[in-house]
């Protein structure tokens, strides 16, 4: 088969990645395989589990349901860009303190989902927060400590 690849520039965590991919290549796979950003995990590849959640232009998206070519020129944020250098994001600290992770596979997706929601809606009420967090799956924690951690981080971020 001839090379039917397309040149794409992905802007991820403020850095540009010039990659060449087939149009069918998902954003998740392009991030992992072409950009070497393997923190974004694929859990189902059909948009249900949310493990692959990244932030595109401020919105949480499932990178398994998006093609890399669709994201050309847009601002992408992944788990690798959440901390400020060595300084962890309040959500990352809260997940550690409140034991919001066990195996850690769903964690990048939950962190990016929560980060985008708290940036958009810092005063989100509890009920809405649980509603939002119910869009991702976790098989280890039973969610209790994830909810606790996000609440704690939200309070800290508001207090700033």
């Amino acid at each position: 088969m001839s090379d039917n690849k397309t040149d794409v520039i992905l802007k991820v965590n403020g850095k540009e990645y010039a990659i060449r991919v087939e149009p069918r290549r998902t954003l998740a796979d392009a991030l992992r395989d072409q950009c070497g950003l393997t923190g974004t995990n694929s859990g189902c590849e059909h948009g249900v589990c949310g493990s692959c959640t990244v932030i595109v232009d401020g919105d949480p998206v499932r990178s398994c349901l998006m093609f890399a070519v669709q994201v050309q020129g847009r601002q992408i944020r992944t788990i690798e860009g959440l901390a400020d250098g060595d300084k962890l994001h309040p959500l990352q600290r809260a997940f550690i303190e409140h034991h919001g992770l066990q195996c850690g596979f769903c964690t990048p997706g939950f962190l990016m989902l929560a980060a985008s929601v708290l940036e958009r809606e810092p005063d989100i009420n509890d009920e809405d927060l649980v509603e939002v967090l119910s869009s991702n799956l976790c098989r280890c924690t039973g969610y209790q400590n994830i909810i606790k951690a996000v609440r704690a981080a939200a309070a800290e971020m508001r207090a700033r």
């Binding site: 923190g39 589990c49 850690g104 280890c140 039973g142 969610y143």
Partner: protein, 776 residues
Amino acid sequence: MDAAKSGPGAAEKFVGRSVPRLEDLPLVTGRGRFAASIAFPHQLHMRVVRSNHAHGKIILIDASRALAAPGCVAVWTAADVTAIPPIEFRPTHIQGLEPYRQPVLARDFVRYVGEPVAVVFAEDSYQAEDAADLVVVEIEELPVLLSASQPPGEFEPGRDTEPAVIRKKYGDLDGAFRAAHAVVELDLSIGRHSGVPLETRGVVARYDTTRDVLELHGGTKRPHPNRDLLARMLGRSPASVHLYECHIGGGFGVRGEIYPEDVLVCAAALRLGRPVKWIEDRRENLMACNHSRQQRHRIRAAIDAEGRILGMDDEFFHDQGAYVRTHGARVPDMTAGMLPGPYRMPAFRVVGHFRLTNKTPAATYRGPGRYESTFVCERLLDAIAAKVGIDRVEVRRRNLIAKAEMPYTRPLDVLDTGMVLDSGDYAGMLDKVLARIGWNELQRQIKRRKAAGEAVGAGLAFFVEKSGLGPVDGVRVTVDATGTVEVLTGAASVGQGVETVIAQICADALGVDYRRVRVVHGRTDRIDFGFGAHAARVTVMTGSATHIAALKVRAKAIEIAASDFMEATADALDIVDGRIVRRNRTDGPSVTLAQIASALSPAAAIAKGREPGLSADGWFHTDHMTYPYGAHVAVVNVDRETGGVKVERYLAAYDVGVAVNPMLVEGQIVGSMVQGLGGALYEEFLYDESGTPLCVTFADYMQPTAHEVPHVDVLITEDAPSPLNPLGLKGAGESGITAVGAAIASAIDDAIGMPGAVTQLPVTPQRLREILNRAR
């Protein structure tokens, strides 16, 4: 040795504290190394071609178009792997299972949808998938068998689909039924569900010609037994096969077993001379990774007039799916052995039919056998209460084994070890649970709300777990010249916090900060021996061995400090935060563990006639498992129109003996409770009449989300430390799942005012509506 016996003095203690995990930093920053993130130069990608038929004869496999596809390097069918034997199961006393083992690629027949028929190797995972689509498989359909409680069919000429029957019994059962005041009989079913970790399976194999070593990277629940098994299957020496564990996206009993794909990537790495990577997709995971649970029980109990059990008689049917996998018949064996739960039972008989069907093969899922047996036993207790006309709490009180009867020997065996309930205060647990939930007030509230028309109710379930499967575990604790402590263990991690817990135990015994302890696990090239992570055994077995080894290192360090550095007797010394100090004089002279380690470098040590290295091996041996226990209370609200069940409150109580890290124990309990809730209300692998699986996406296999999950109140008690190990430890990994199905069923019965209504898990809205409609 005296110093070791008297233990550390002023040192900071870590056991018993909810210290943060050592594992978390890479996982919250996107630096986790899960199998899909492992890549080797020039690696090939494997894609499995799976059967679309539940049962049939393979007429033809044509790979010619696939082989011509871009990037395709090879296609294998059974004909290419004739030298590889079917996958073995663990040693077991149950005979006759061999003919039912699974070949790595289907030979002549396919027996479930999802069975590997061929494998494709290509340069890129997308190309491998494209090529796999071009493999033509022609199958002549055969009749399917989808129920284990139907009469067995033919597996192959001369062999039926019942590889084994599990039988256990003791006491005079006929006498018990003759003397009975009444007999209670139930027909109960548990659905087919499974661990379904969020990371699918994945392995990468490579062959290193310089060392003649085959490496397998990925989930390795039992690295050493898996190494030995792979070596045997591939005709290599175990020393030339190494397994490397990476980050694991959840285990739950299903990950890290030897599956066909694990063997195939290894064989391919050897034969094709390039690293081979296989990452499962979710659809494959839901039809090819082990299923679990599915059983039907016909149980009866003989009781006296007060509701005391005189005898229990159970016949059950275990739906094993298409082949016997690595666990052999362990799940039905555990179901049978654990069935009597925490109750006194003078006579007992169980007959378990271990039967094959044309579905995905089954094996263990967290709490294997106990989720099932606890549902059955606790349904029976509820039925006895209804029959005799006593309260559900009272019927349990009358039958629970008393504290004074501990240790309690039951003439049964579980996992080939005799059952001795080592310790427990079951009645005390019941009291604590009732007090914690406010049972009497809860009953009043329920009465008021029912009077107002609500369908709300509470359920209670008691359970006995098993943990700390022996017989032995060993670790090596070493302090290096920087003062860093290494615990080298043959255990494995499945994401449960093994490193933190083992570091805490080591830290206290040795006298260092737990953050100075590196726990090395899942590496067969570093240690020759290991049992892995399963059966809630790591904290108990590996923890005990760590305690023993660390005390030895402590004694060694103190002895050398006493003779060479401190001008003191050993019993005057202590180790505090990695420094050997005089007891109660932390400001006085001291020597660090790092200095002692340097003093024991080979040259220095030999010169003084000492064994080099500040290091010791610790071995822990046990003949018996330890049996934790607990009780759950559920409060549910049923929507009579939709059949939906909302769990309003949930209490999970558990006696863990000693909680090394209460935060992690609580995490295990809540996490496993929610998995149990999935099996009680939502999760089920369904098949149509042709044997086609209907739940192959997360949209069809319904797991709980943050939305469905109630707040789980956790009560951890430490009333009954195990007498079987030095720290009194009991396992926690399966602690929260065991009683969920039973408690939810009991609560739903109560809510709809129909004792005994729930006879099948999961209680889906459809099933509950059927129950409600029947009553109308």
